[in-house]
């Protein structure tokens, strides 16, 4: 166990943190405005696929934008259903997950090697090579975005409006804020970050698309959002904690010394146990915007 080993773990953790933090931060925007999108998992998977295709066509940056765009479009549909059409957000989100899972698997069957799709070299993101593993610029993006969104939500007028809409839409409406439009915009933007997370998975970190690529990360992001009390900085922290323990669990499981003592199944549990303990011990009660989850109707 030396410095190089530890840095390797750290780097791996940062990579694992990116999708959770990005998707989580996006969801914070949406939830602050009052829409609870459980469809993150589906958006991540869908964007991973579309982003991969985009990257193969036009290079990694194009792919990332295609991924974001996919997230934006899905978020828009979700938003339309839940705002103007007063849809039930929970149901719509579940619908998105189902749809995405089916469509991506279906797509994979029709693209070259059925079942999985590895991105060609040209489509892959170029990372900086270090002795401990690749360092991706997306890691920086994942750190910067939560800060930016935090500033947006808590230090700008727009952020104030978004939060007002989530907290007390009636009052906001009276004040002249366009509720549905703002919610639509917030959710779509938030979903585009989830889309970015998905594209990162396929173009950068893993380099491949399979039907189970998201591996529950959308739900972990959701849990992180709840854990953060809608504070993007805490999403960053939560994402890192989870990513760190998730990665650590895999690394530690390979060490013969550890294998003598503890079965690998229990090591794998660690990230979830830790997150739960932190939520219970440190975070405690969280408060959601008062009007979250309820479609707004003008009286």
């Amino acid at each position: 166990m030396n410095l190089s080993y530890l840095l390797g773990i750290l780097l791996g953790s940062l990579h694992a943190m990116v999708p959770i933090t990005l998707a989580g931060t996006g969801e914070v925007i949406g939830e602050s405005s009052g829409l609870f999108n459980i469809g993150l998992e589906g958006i991540i998977l869908l964007s991973a696929m579309t982003g991969a295709l985009g990257a193969e066509a036009g290079g990694p940056i194009v792919g990332l934008f295609v991924g974001m765009g996919t997230g934006f479009v899905v978020g828009l549909i979700f938003g339309l259903v839940c705002t103007y059409s007063k849809g039930v957000q929970l149901i719509a989100g579940v619908g998105i997950n189902l749809f995405a899972a089916g469509l991506v698997t279906f797509w994979l069957i029709h693209l070259g090697v059925p079942g999985h799709h590895t991105i060609a070299e040209e489509g892959r993101m170029v990372d900086i090579s270090t002795p401990f593993g690749d360092f991706s610029p997306m890691i920086l993006v994942a750190i910067v975005f939560p800060v930016v969104i935090y500033l947006l939500l808590f230090r700008t007028k727009l952020g104030l409006k978004i939060r007002a809409v989530g907290e007390n839409p009636q009052a906001a409406d009276v004040a002249g804020i366009k509720i549905h439009l703002l919610r639509l915009f917030s959710t779509a933007t938030g979903a585009s970050l989830a889309g970015l997370a998905g594209a990162y998975l396929s173009i950068d970190w893993i380099g491949s698309v399979t039907k189970e690529l998201s591996a529950g990360r959308g739900f972990i992001a959701l849990a992180t959002v709840v854990f953060s009390g809608l504070n993007p900085l805490l999403v960053l922290l939560g994402g890192f904690i989870f990513g760190f323990f998730d990665n650590l669990a895999v690394w530690v499981a390979t060490m013969p010394a550890v294998q003598q003592i503890i079965p690998w199944q229990f090591v794998s549990m660690a990230p979830y146990v830790v997150t739960l303990m932190v939520a219970a011990g440190v975070i405690g009660r969280v408060r959601f915007p008062a009007a979250m989850g309820v479609p707004y109707e003008r009286e």
Binding site: F106, S268, M269, A279, A280
Partner: protein, 363 residues
């Protein structure tokens, strides 16, 4: 969520289904499949003959139970998505009883009881953490689902493993299995357990004081607390009851599902049952009766999807695409308004009497 008019709900479901199938057809055509023959195969596979119907009902069996878990939580104003983790342990609890040699009647009863208790035991921490530390159930259920998954892997590989076939647990003792209802299919008496559970839950929520309290808390927590209903007591009841049904789902599956009557490493057969239950609960409007129908619908799509794959070579996943769109459209309560002309359609009288019971008029 108000239950405003059965007929409207039915019409809505039909419209949503139409949209769902339309999108599915579109996707199929893009890739060169023939939607007509595919859908015919789908329908035949699901409901076209007794074999198909049996398969649909078999699939529906666990869905009903896991949907109930979510629905009970929802009615209480809570978001219980822990059915997945709870059902794993329920299934394993049932298997554990088969480790011992009790007389078959006792074994059967114990299997069910332990499964139900296991599910509730895994649900309890969620309620406790919420009450004591305010941990939102979204976090705790998601985390506990994963913890249960790995715990189950361990139990399957080390403790409950079948000495002769290490890839699975020991099988449920033959005398303890649910007998097949229709031979040559996978349908067992387990379906009755599910239906029975749905009825019990319905009676519980709509005909008991506790049930009323739960629904009141879900409808308006402030008023309910003001009226003297104890929030934490309700939370406990909601999660424990949800745990019961989820644990039961695990038991019914492992005790009723041929050919193995055991759990494989990696849990490929019970994985996802909890999450499907979520969708079923949504479509079923979180009402036990609706859930039964929604479960049969989903079960039918799955059974039919297999036949569709066989005869038209359309991949099974197409079914999920259809499901997704249907669910998405069902999210819109005003779907009927969009097609206002449909409101004029008269539905047979069986639904009329339901409407008169409804306190809330149509908007």
């Amino acid at each position: 969520m108000r239950f405003s008019g059965r007929t409207d709900e039915l019409k809505k479901t039909v419209i949503a289904a139409v949209f769902g199938f339309a999108v599915g057809a579109l996707t199929m055509m893009v890739y060169g499949y023939d939607p007509i023959s595919a859908y015919i195969a789908l329908f035949n596979g699901a409901f076209g003959d007794p074999y198909g119907l049996s398969e649909s009902l078999t699939n529906a069996t666990p869905f009903i139970l896991t949907a109930l878990t979510f629905a009970i939580g929802f009615r209480g104003g809570m978001f219980n998505i822990g059915a997945e983790g709870q059902l794993y342990l329920g299934a394993l609890a049932a298997v554990t009883v088969s480790l011992f040699r009790f007389p078959s009647g006792i074994s059967f009863a114990l299997s069910i009881i332990f499964a139900v208790l296991a599910g509730a035991a895994w649900s309890l921490p969620v309620a406790v953490l919420k009450a004591a530390r305010g941990v939102h159930e979204v976090i705790s259920t998601i985390m506990l689902n994963w913890i249960s998954r790995f715990l189950s892997f361990y139990l399957i590989a080390k403790i409950l493993v079948d000495p002769l076939r290490a890839e699975k647990t020991i099988s449920i003792a033959e005398s303890v299995r649910f007998p097949l209802l229709v031979s040559g299919t996978s349908l067992s008496y387990g379906i009755f357990v599910s239906l029975f559970a749905a009825i019990i839950i319905y009676l519980f929520l709509w005909r008991t004081v506790s049930g009323f309290d739960i629904r009141a808390m879900g409808f308006n927590p402030v008023a309910a607390t003001y009226a003297g209903i104890d929030k934490w007591k309700i939370t406990l009841i909601v999660f424990i009851t949800g745990g019961f049904t989820a644990g039961l789902a695990g038991a019914v599956h492992v005790m009723g599902r041929p050919p193995t009557y055991a759990i494989y490493s990696g849990m490929p057969s019970i994985q996802g049952l909890g999450f499907e239950g979520l969708a079923v609960a949504m479509i079923g409007r979180n009402h036990p009766i609706g859930i039964i129908f929604a479960a049969i619908f989903f079960g039918g799509l799955l059974a039919g999807g297999r036949m569709m794959q066989l005869s038209s070579q359309v991949p099974l996943e197409m079914v999920r695409v259809v499901e997704g769109i249907v669910v998405l459209f069902l999210a819109i309560p005003e779907l009927i308004q969009v097609f206002s002309f449909l409101r004029e359609i008269r539905i047979p009288f069986i639904f009329q009497f339901k409407r008169s019971q409804n306190k809330h008029g149509r908007r």
